[in-house]
Symmetry: C2
Subunit: 229 residues, 2 copies
Amino acid sequence: MRYAVLGTGIVGRTIAAKLASLGHEVVIGTRDPQATLARTDPDGMGNPPYAVWQADHADVLLKPFAEAAALGETIVNTTAGTAALTALDAAGSANLAGKVVIDVANPLDFSAGMPPTLDPVNTDSLGEQIQRAFPEAKVVKTLNTMTCAVMVEPTRVAGEHNVFVSGADTGAKKQVTELLVSFGWPEHSVIDLGGIETARGTEMLLPIWLRLMGTLGHADFNFHIQGAR
Amino acid sequence: MRYAVLGTGIVGRTIAAKLASLGHEVVIGTRDPQATLARTDPDGMGNPPYAVWQADHADVLLKPFAEAAALGETIVNTTAGTAALTALDAAGSANLAGKVVIDVANPLDFSAGMPPTLDPVNTDSLGEQIQRAFPEAKVVKTLNTMTCAVMVEPTRVAGEHNVFVSGADTGAKKQVTELLVSFGWPEHSVIDLGGIETARGTEMLLPIWLRLMGTLGHADFNFHIQGAR
């Protein structure tokens, strides 16, 4: 499978590296590849600039959003949530139509400082916004409820824990579940919540997730629905 | 300890019965005791009318909100979230001042149908609203993230799972934690999230909780933060 991962941050890099390690072709999409490669400062969380990561992952291509999305058979949105619709617009609806679009982003709004709030929230979600904006895409919301290291290496958290999938298309959710299993998630740990509107519930886990990260002092934790089976 | 439980619904009854079974004095608060006792229809979830429950729990008193709150050394708010501030106003700030007020309610708004939304949400919470309205009360938000049967009998859900506490007053949270332990919660299962503003995070668990109840077909589940210790 050829994947287009939209976004050059730590989430996109982590998922791209995992996909490549599993033998998939991977192209990362960004607004302006030259500008992305020209950055020399670490990001706000202290991650090294993209070019450093790219040098270690020469098998992963870096292309403008539209070119990446055209190449990808499956799309993974890892952009900052508030930039996701702009990035997907740049990717182009024709390049998303008929494809599975895995939405990993959370619509965190840091404009009023910490802790961030969610926008949209409660009566809408980023997953639904993306599905409405690109009705021919098969949007599946998943993996947005944990740190990216855990997304691709669930055994970082000992014991049973869960990953959620939300989306209208059963076949798309089946494909995404198979991908999650290839990442190391036991099939029984994948909870299908239903339609894309259930992304409201998973996105609204972010406030307690962020608080728990502060309380626990680390991010290697995850939600486990005890009693689910 | 003498407890005032505000609210005559299934949550209030369940907590009142548990407190009484542990040897506490319990008075339930309601707007109009005569009206509460006169109801003969089951509630919207099929629970029997209050009078049926009262007949089986003659040791639990039923009083108007203010009288109940005056009698209670600790207050437990189990009213419907959208009615909580009105009920607490009726209880009276003088009857809450200096006391621990345990807020179990969620501000679910069913006015636009199912699923309910939260009001307030995201930038505020019911827990914070109550603390602001009654600054002399020691508000602790807890137990609002599970079905009431699990609140008072955590072993209904096999394995490890968690209950959260949020509040400004350390002594109040210690008292509430001791109460939770007396309900059967292992002390290590109680996660102190910090101040009352962290109630935003636990109240925002409700959308996924409600969806999970639908998906799983039962309510005997709970959140477990895997990797928390």
